[in-house]
Amino acid sequence: MIIQTPKKLLIICVLLPLAFVLPQVAEARFDSHQKRYMSNKDYASVFRQLFPLSTGSNDYKVKDCLKTDTTIQSLIGYSSPAFGEPIYSTPSPLFVRWYGNCVQRLIQEEFGKIKERGYSKKHLQNYFSHSFLQGLRVEQWELQKWYSWTKTKQLQAITEIVTHLIGPWPVLRDLGWKQEESDYIEKLLESMSTESSSSAWKALQSALLKVMMREEFILY
């Protein structure tokens, strides 16, 4: 598991819901109150795009995250057929809990399958550019401690993830980040201080989770 400690669960279950609910007013349709959130099937589509190997998983919990099951339809912003309106008027804590759990499971599953395929660089290109991976021995990432990477390398890796998941720097600005790009990356790196003793392999999974838990990731 990438996240096991109660402290991290606290972040996922308590702080992030607050982060979604407090700073803005948004409707759970995710498209009708200034901020536009991904909606309905977008989550499953994007998950399938970013975690293609997981689509073949036998784990039912992983499979559930890759489809729009009736049990989560109201959580992700569908209108209730009975009322013609969404049940939740804002992205609810339940949504964040569902979303956080799914992202966590999918990252774990995908990286497990990438490892099974001999640390396939082809599949890692969903998060890192070809030029970044070129010449790197990815299998060593499991043996290397995150703290053993230079800060430049750490920042470079996080920048790669942000670029692949959110988009180039102007996208971040469009999505409301008003400071320098480097501040965004630095802040993400700071939040990874707890990963210092983890392997680089684990730490990068954690970085992926942190980026996907950012509000910018689900905005458009």
Binding site: D31, S32, H33, Q34, K35, R36, M38, N40, K41, D42, A44, S45, V46, R48, Q49, L50, K67, T68, T70, Q73, Y78, S79, P81, A82, G84, Q125, S129, T163, H164, L165, G167, P168, W169, P170, V171, R173, D174, L175, G176, K178, Q179, E180, Y220
Partner: protein, 502 residues
């Protein structure tokens, strides 16, 4: 230097307080509402637009290669062409079709369909029947074939798929059995009793009075069931809601006596649950109460068009009427000989066009973005201009300023004043070099040279669409004043706004 800074500040104060908006005088007025509100929509970058477009139309993120090609297009100033190509490409994807199907299902208050990637299996017959039924196929065809949006209501073609396993629906074969007996083939079954008839296409004459697009489908009838008491009013209400944006809600009349409020909610004006026959209740209370009349004068005549079709489509058309008060308060009362006639009459109404445009607006722009006055008329004109074709109209919507918006807005005056304050810092130094005051418009005293100056400023500060802030050449690195990222961002928005207003 200090003197120049002071001069800059004084000028800034002058402009923030008393500068007439000279730059607006020769600009075309966009529309009255826009002018009144003086609100500036903060535009997206081309990258942000690509992301928004991709998520809106396909539900997936753009690939790294797409961003790379966009960067190349930006460097050649060909981003407009590239993004237009992307709109076409995304509109042709299956994901766009399924996203629209989802939106339509919500509009019709239906349970969402299966995911596009879910295989059609016998494991889940409920979900399978959601996916392959005449209504959902009509939704998808509308988008896939870029049909006129009116076909949603006036379409005469259906696809009949066999029912897979157990389903709550009676199935399309039985639904159309009376009206298309001559077209439907004999069903076949396998040894387990599961229907194996291949999917079939049925088509009716354009003048057929019995058939009306989505309204005459098994799934619509299943969703909006009728009873002897309801007399198809529920179906009529759904049509008013979906096609004329007239959302009617049932109203319970105020009690006229001191009755137990709980019983009053269950059976109005009835103290016992067994005494009064229901028909009397409807006649005495629901039929005559003024609140009820507000809706029933519309619902009852339209409901009559469904008269012979309770669960399956009748072979005989039934006459009724389209009755409602239009937005000017005039009574519309059109006799209709059948559902086909009713559907056609609805598509001729102004309220219909406005309502459909609003659905699209809410889906692609957002219900929080106002659509009224001239802007509404402009969008309806576009809807008509593209002959109400689904994807063509979506192409128009995703090219509007509102779609290009970050969702952030700013008062026009604030944007101008803050921008001039920042620009005044440039003038503070450059005036000594004999350059004109950038805050006095037209710059250099002539409108002919004004735009050239603006282009120069934009490029020097790294604000041009194909530039990054890091590429700016001004102010020089040894300058005491260096603009912050927020200031540059602000100026970039302003320059974009000026171009849009031209």
């Amino acid at each position: 230097m200090k003197l120049n800074l002071w001069l800059g500040l004084v000028l800034a104060v002058f402009f923030t307080t008393g500068c007439p908006p000279a730059q607006h005088e020769d600009s075309p007025k966009r529309n009255d509402d826009f002018q009144k509100a003086k609100t500036v929509i903060i535009p997206l970058s081309s990258y942000g637009y690509l992301r928004k477009l991709s998520l809106h139309l396909r539900g997936t993120l753009p690939s790294q290669n797409e961003y790379k090609v966009l960067a190349e297009a930006l460097s050649e100033n060909a981003q407009g062409f590239y993004l237009k190509q992307k709109v076409k490409e995304y509109l042709a994807t299956p994901n766009h079709v399924f996203k629209m199907e989802d939106r339509l299902s919500e509009l019709f208050s239906l349970l969402p369909e299966t995911d596009p990637w879910e295989t059609d299996s016998n494991d889940n017959p409920f979900r399978s029947s959601f996916k392959n039924n005449s209504l959902n196929i009509l939704f998808r065809d509308l988008v896939k074939k870029n049909k006129s949006w009116d076909e949603l209501l006036t379409g005469k073609q259906y696809s009949i798929h066999p029912l897979k396993g157990f389903s709550l629906s009676i199935g399309d074969r039985l639904f159309y059995a009376h009206v298309a007996a001559d077209q439907l083939v004999e069903p076949t079954y396998d040894e387990r009793g599961i229907e194996t008839t291949p999917p079939q296409h049925i088509e009716f004459n354009k003048q057929d009075l019995r058939v009306a697009g989505a309204v005459t489908t098994g799934r619509f009838f299943d969703r909006y069931v009728t009873t002897a008491l309801n007399k198809n009013r529920k179906r009529a209400a759904a049509i008013f809601k979906i096609f004329l944006c007239d959302d009617m809600r049932a109203s319970l009349p105020e009690p006229t006596e001191n009755l137990d409020p709980i019983y009053d909610l269950i059976f109005p004006e009835t103290e016992s649950q067994s005494g009064e026959p229901l028909p009397k209740l409807t006649e005495d209370v629901h039929g005559s109460h003024p609140d009820c009349k507000k809706c029933h004068y519309k619902l009852d005549p339209m409901g009559r068009n469904f008269e012979f079709s309770s669960a399956i489509l009748s072979r005989f058309p039934s006459s009724g009427a389209l009755t409602y008060q239009d937005k000017n308060g005039s009574m519309v009362d059109i006799s209709t000989k059948g559902l086909g006639d009713l559907a056609f009459s609805i598509t001729q109404q102004e309220e219909y066009a406005e309502c459909q445009v609003r659905h699209f607006w809410n889906w692609f722009i957002g219900s929080d973005v106002p659509l009224q006055g001239d802007r509404l008329r402009e969008v309806i004109t576009q809807f008509e201009k593209v002959e109400r074709k689904t994807n063509d109209f979506i192409s128009y919507l995703v090219s509007t300023d509102e779609f290009w918006s970050t969702g952030e807005t700013m008062e026009e005056d604030n944007l101008r004043q803050r921008s001039l304050t920042i620009i005044s810092k440039c003038t503070g130094c450059h005036k000594n070099e004999g350059l004109p005051d950038f805050t006095l418009w037209p710059i250099g005293g002539e409108w002919s040279s004004h735009q050239q100056w603006l282009n120069k400023i934009e490029k020097s500060l790294g604000l041009a669409p194909n530039q990054e802030f890091s590429q700016r050449t001004m102010p020089p690195k040894n300058s005491l004043w260096q603009p912050t990222i927020q200031e540059l961002d602000h100026l970039k928005k302003w320059f974009h706004f000026l171009k849009e207003k031209k």
